[in-house]
C-alpha cells in the first residue's frame, strides 16, 4: 500500500460524500419516521457494540472509527 495516496483517498471519499448532499439539509421532523427506526441506528445496541469491538480490536491491527476507545492488553 502506498502511503501518501492511501489516506488521502479516505479524506476525499469522506468530503465528496458529504458535499454530494449540499442543499438537502431540510429533512423535517415528520419525514424522519424511517430514520428513527432502530434498524437505521449507526450506534445500535451499546452493549452489543462494545462486545463486537472487544473481539475485533483484539483480532485486527486496525482500530477506531467505530466508537471504541481505550486500551487493554489483549496479550494472548
Amino acid at each position: 500500500m502506498r502511503s501518501p495516496s492511501f489516506f488521502k483517498v479516505g479524506i476525499v471519499m469522506l468530503l465528496a460524500s458529504l458535499a454530494g448532499g449540499c442543499g438537502h439539509f431540510g429533512v423535517k421532523a415528520h419525514q424522519r419516521e424511517l430514520l428513527a427506526d432502530r434498524i437505521m441506528s449507526f450506534e445500535g445496541n451499546a452493549q452489543e457494540r462494545a462486545a463486537d469491538e472487544h473481539v475485533l480490536s483484539n483480532r485486527e491491527g486496525a482500530v477506531g472509527a467505530t466508537g471504541t476507545s481505550g486500551g487493554g492488553c489483549g496479550c494472548n
Binding site: V63, G71, C73
Partner: protein, 421 residues
C-alpha cells in the same frame, strides 16, 4: 503466563448486588426509564494442530442505566473475560532431527486468566444534544486499566446534523519482568515467566505504564428521509509499554531468544464513512461502512462492512453481517523463518499476529425477538429484547511462519437479553 486463579466470588456477588441496587434505587427515585441488559459472548478459536487447545474466551456483560425526567442519566456495568487455551511462548522456528524447520506453535503453553471491568457514568440530555462522562476500571493478574471518557453530542440545523466528540484517557499499568541486568540491551531482555508476583512489589517484576489518549469526532447527517450518512475519525496516541511481556522471539541461528520488543510510542489514525439506507417496502435497512487506517508502526488497513437488517414479523428482527479487512504488517515485523534466518529488522521484533500482513473475513447472522406491548397497555416491563447471534471470523495470513498460523478461524456465539422498565 497468567496462572488462572479463580475469580473472586465475593467481589463478583458484590458487583451484581450493586447493579441490582442501582436498578431498584432508580425505580424508587422515580426514574422515567430504567434499562437492564445481560449479554454473554463465547469466542472459540481452535488450532488445527492436534493437541493444541486454541483460545476460548467467555465474556459476560451486565449493564444497567436509568434516565430521569430532568434529563439526568446514570449507568453502570460489569464485564468479565474468562480466557483459557494454549498460546506459544516463543515465536520462531526450530529445526527437527532432519534439519527441517518446525513451527514453534507446536510448543504452545496452556494458560487461563480472568479479566474484569467495572464502569459507571453520568449523562445529561438536552433537547439538542447531551453530555456524558464515564469511568472504567479493568484488572487482571498482569494488567490494570483506569479510563476516563467524556463525550458530547449536539444537534444543529433542525436536527439534520449531529456533531459528536469523544475523548478518552487511559492510565494503564502492565506487569513485566524486571530485567535489571540487561544494561538497556533489548536482546538481553528476558520474558516474564508468570504473573504470580505482579503488582506485589517483588524485585523480579516491574510495573510499566501505558498512557492512551483517544479523540473521536464524528458527524451524522440525515440526508434524505431514507438515508443517513456518518463520517468521522479516530486519533489514538499510545505512550508506554506495549509488548506482550510473556512472548519471546527466536532471532538468528545463534539461538538468541529475547522478549518481544515494541516501540514505546504509537500514533494510530482512522477515517470512516457510514451510510444507512431504509427500504420500507421490505421493512429493512442496508448499512455500509468503509474505513481506512494507518499508524506510526507502518500498519495500514482498509475495512469494509455491510449490515442488512429486516423485520421478519413485528416481533422478529433478522440481520446479516459481512466484514472484510486487509492490512499490511508493521515495518519491523518479519515471519518466524525470516527472524530465524536473518535476525531482526531493526531494534524491534514481534510475534503479534495483529502486526503481521493479514486479511480477515467476518460473516454471521442475528435473530432478535422484540416484545413491545400494544399502545395504551401498561406493563412493568415496557420493552423486552432477546437476541441470538452467530458469526465466523476467518484469518488469512501471508505465511505459514506467521504468528498463530495454526488458527484459521474463530466462531463467535452471543446471547443477550435486555429489558426496559
Amino acid at each position: 503466563m497468567p496462572t488462572g486463579r479463580p475469580i473472586s466470588g465475593s467481589r463478583t456477588v458484590a458487583t451484581w448486588l450493586a447493579l441490582a441496587c442501582l436498578v431498584a434505587g432508580a425505580s424508587r427515585a422515580g426514574a422515567a426509564e430504567v434499562e437492564a441488559a445481560q449479554r454473554g459472548t463465547l469466542f472459540l478459536e481452535p488450532s488445527n494442530i492436534k493437541g493444541n487447545a486454541g483460545i476460548t474466551v467467555f465474556h459476560p456483560q451486565t449493564d444497567v442505566s436509568a434516565t430521569f425526567a430532568s434529563g439526568l442519566g446514570i449507568a453502570a456495568g460489569y464485564a468479565v473475560d474468562v480466557v483459557s487455551g494454549a498460546t506459544p511462548r516463543v515465536f520462531g522456528v526450530r529445526n527437527d532431527a532432519t534439519g527441517r524447520p518446525v513451527d514453534a506453535i507446536s510448543g504452545a503453553t496452556k494458560f487461563s486468566d480472568v479479566r474484569q471491568q467495572v464502569h459507571g457514568g453520568l449523562s445529561y440530555a438536552r433537547p439538542v444534544g447531551d453530555v456524558a462522562a464515564s469511568y472504567s476500571y479493568g484488572w487482571e493478574h498482569d494488567y490494570r486499566s483506569h479510563a476516563v471518557t467524556v463525550n458530547t453530542r449536539t444537534d444543529v440545523l433542525d436536527h439534520a446534523l449531529t456533531i459528536n466528540l469523544s475523548y478518552t484517557h487511559n492510565f494503564d499499568s502492565v506487569c513485566d519482568a524486571a530485567n535489571v541486568d540487561t544494561g538497556g540491551i533489548p536482546l538481553a531482555r528476558q520474558a516474564l515467566a508468570n504473573s504470580n508476583n505482579c503488582f506485589k512489589g517483588t524485585p523480579d517484576v516491574a510495573t510499566r505504564s501505558l498512557n492512551i489518549d483517544a479523540v473521536e469526532p464524528s458527524l451524522t447527517w440525515a440526508l434524505t428521509p431514507r438515508l443517513d450518512l456518518q463520517g468521522g475519525g479516530t486519533a489514538l496516541v499510545l505512550d508506554g509499554f506495549q509488548s506482550n511481556p510473556y512472548r519471546q522471539v527466536d532471532l538468528g541461528r545463534a539461538g538468541a531468544r529475547p522478549q518481544e520488543t515494541l516501540p514505546q510510542f504509537r500514533q494510530r489514525y482512522a477515517l470512516f464513512l457510514r451510510s444507512a439506507y431504509a427500504v420500507p417496502a421490505a421493512r429493512a435497512s442496508i448499512q455500509a461502512m468503509a474505513r481506512v487506517y494507518r499508524d506510526s508502526w507502518g500498519v495500514r488497513a482498509a475495512t469494509a462492512e455491510v449490515l442488512l437488517q429486516s423485520y421478519v414479523t413485528r416481533f422478529l428482527l433478522w440481520s446479516l453481517r459481512g466484514r472484510a479487512t486487509a492490512q499490511g504488517g508493521a515495518v519491523f515485523y518479519e515471519d518466524a523463518q525470516t527472524y530465524f534466518l536473518h535476525g531482526p529488522n531493526g531494534k524491534y521484533w514481534t510475534g503479534d499476529r495483529e502486526l503481521s500482513p493479514m486479511q480477515n473475513l467476518l460473516t454471521g447472522s442475528q435473530l432478535t425477538y422484540l416484545h413491545i406491548p400494544e399502545a395504551g397497555q401498561h406493563h412493568f416491563i415496557s420493552e423486552l429484547d432477546a437476541s441470538l447471534k452467530f458469526e465466523l471470523l476467518f484469518y488469512r495470513l501471508d505465511s505459514v511462519y506467521a504468528p498463530n498460523a495454526d488458527r484459521k478461524f474463530a466462531g463467535i456465539l452471543q446471547l443477550a437479553v435486555s429489558a426496559r422498565f
